[in-house]
């Protein structure tokens, strides 16, 4: 669906008309990311990250396919073939560093994209399906990234595979057979490495498929916006092209500058030195940590140190190991029910004073702390702090958000997006941007809402 005022694709030449009749692919593109897609005119830079994430996926697929031309998934030679790529293959070092850092930047972009969703409540009706598909993409990304990190077959690769498959060993009854089945052996070796490579190659294309669904679902209600007020009239929107293609183009440039600075000047800063030591099943590194983008979930995993028992009886209901696994997966699965936990009719955090306080002073510091704690040694006071922030994390979603949505008195919303951008005057007279003199940006709750800022 689209808005009634969306521009229609009009093929000009005989050739494009012929194509349009046989396979209206240009029309699809025109309606999806071209002039035929009306987008709220007030999107801020936080709305850049969706396109950037798609771009990251492309970087990863292209560099990944190329690296797979030189890599061999065999435990005896895998580490050597990675070094072969770094030393002998033309521009191999560039491709590999781009792929390794590309994973990190993909996660940076995705975390900002999710952060945007949290603050502006992008998960709320009518956009629940977009959100749910997004969480699926995130889970697939985590699986892909984990398996990719195993492929260089360094120490961290090996022990990461050991530890993460060990999580499944925590499941009662089937855990241990399941872990052995996942690895195809009693410890990570050829069988595990080869299946991880196969799946690591497959999953990005599955992600691309879900991304298409994600974008499809987005085009049903159209993009959200920083006021959280739905689009009411044509003056609320601009065509995606050229307005947001140009803005995303600029955003892409900034992203690429940061990305290439990392690739060319600090390519190993986000990695771990131990992964330049070939896998050794007989010696565990002093500190086993996953890649930085798993830190919050790793911190939650390690926060559960005690068994869940019936008080004073000593009967163990859930052992600590299983609790940690449940907690870690639960911390993401809770996002699946988020649209039904936060029932406030107001979307944007700008108009929700109480929500905003808990967001900036509760959730954001908690995430920051968990990011830090996941990379530390498992010792006090870090365990204690992990437990504190893990408790807050779950309570934020499961208790605080539902309560806030009950008691909060939201600030008055603008009548429309146009009013939010141009001030009240714009809604009474013809809202022709650039000709409106009476527009008062000062009434905005947040100056960043102006599209041109």
């Amino acid at each position: 669906m689209s808005f009634a005022w969306a521009k229609q694709y009009e093929p000009k030449s005989a050739f494009t008309k012929w194509i349009d009749e046989k396979l209206p692919f240009p029309r699809l593109v025109y309606n999806a990311v071209g002039a035929g897609y009306p987008v709220p005119r007030n999107l801020n830079y936080m709305w850049n990250f969706g396109v950037l994430a798609g771009f990251c996926l492309m970087i990863q697929i292209i560099t990944g396919v190329v690296l797979a031309m030189h890599y061999a998934a065999n435990a005896t030679v895998a580490f050597g073939t990675v070094e072969h790529i770094m030393r002998n293959v033309n521009y191999g070092w560039m491709l590999r560093y781009a792929h390794a850092n590309g994973a990190s930047f993909f996660f940076i972009v995705i975390y900002l994209h999710i952060f945007r969703g949290f603050f502006y409540s992008s998960y709320k009706a009518p956009r629940e399906m977009i959100w749910l598909l997004g969480v699926v993409i995130f889970l697939l990304m985590m699986a892909t990234a984990f398996m990719g990190y195993v492929l260089p077959w360094g120490q961290m690769s090996f022990w990461g595979a050991q530890v993460i498959t060990g999580l499944f060993g925590a499941i009662p009854l089937v855990g241990e057979p399941l872990q052995i089945w996942l690895l195809g052996g009693f410890a990570p070796d050829n069988a595990a490495l080869n299946r991880f490579f196969s799946l690591h190659f497959l999953l990005p294309f599955v992600i691309a498929g879900v991304v298409i669904l994600h974008i499809w679902a987005l085009h049903i209600p159209g993009s959200s916006n920083p006021t959280g007020v739905e689009v009411k009239s044509e003056s609320d929107t601009v065509p995606f092209h050229p307005y947001y293609t140009s803005k995303d183009g600029f955003g892409l440039g900034v992203f690429l500058i940061l990305f290439t600075a990392m690739v060319f000047f600090l390519p190993n800063a986000l990695g771990h030195p131990d992964n330049y030591i070939e896998a050794n099943p007989l010696s565990t590194p002093a500190l086993i940590v996953p890649e930085w983008y798993f830190y919050p979930f790793y911190a939650i995993l390690r926060a559960f140190t005690g068994d869940l028992t019936i008080p004073f009886t000593g009967i163990v209901l859930i052992p600590a190991k299983l609790l940690g696994v449940i907690g870690m997966f639960g911390s993401i699965l809770v996002w699946f029910i988020l649209p039904w936990l936060d029932k406030s009719p107001v979307r944007s955090g700008h108009y929700r004073p109480l929500f905003r306080k808990f967001f900036w002073f509760g959730l954001v510091p908690t995430m920051a702390a968990l990011f830090y704690l996941g990379g530390t040694h498992a010792e006090e006071p870090y365990i204690m702090l992990s437990q504190f922030f893990t408790a807050y994390y779950f309570l934020h979603f499961l208790v605080i958000l539902p309560i806030i949505s009950q008691i909060e008195v939201p600030k008055p919303l603008p009548f429309s997006i146009t009013e939010g951008v141009l001030g009240k005057a714009a809604t009474t007279e013809a809202p022709r941007a650039g000709t409106v003199d009476g527009g008062d940006a000062g009434t905005l709750p947040d100056g960043s809402l102006q599209p041109a800022e």
Binding site: I62, V66, M69, H70, V238
Partner: protein, 193 residues
Amino acid sequence: MADMSGASTPAGATDMLDGADGVRRRDWIHIAALSTAGVGGASLLFPLVSQMAPSADVLAQSTSEVDVSAIEPGQAIKTTFRKQPLFVRRLTPKEIEEANAVDVGSLRDPQTLAERTLVGSENLLVTMGVCTHLGCVPLGAAAGEDRGDFGGYFCPCHGSHYDTAGRIRKGPAPKNLSVPEYAFKTDTVIRIG
């Protein structure tokens, strides 16, 4: 579009897309931005294409050394050069005579034996063991193999016959067996590549 509902069309779009005043002012900035992006995108192709070319270790393997002292006249050995078979053959006087008796002008790929060997060692024929038709390995290097109608090499895949100078005489192959660059490193060892 702009005519129908100009009042609600953002002014920027009108100026940019329709060029209301007939002149596309400052359009050059969009053209410049797009072409720069195009140049950037195209230059990405360079590493992506280049990575498929032979890597440094493969290029470094591209010389071979062969000790030719033990090859008796009439014998040939099969060795490798750049992961491809290489034939080194010591010709008998009779074979040299046969090769020189051919009218060069009548050949598909006219070359004399002297052009295909080093000065001073005309009896040592070094050729790639790769049929110039579609790349099979011709027979005739090992003892007892079919040497074809002309006593040189015979490719069983599609029936190309090479003579004692490794020249194509009959069959579909377009060229003579190619002679790699080589030189004597010592009196008995040749270095190919």
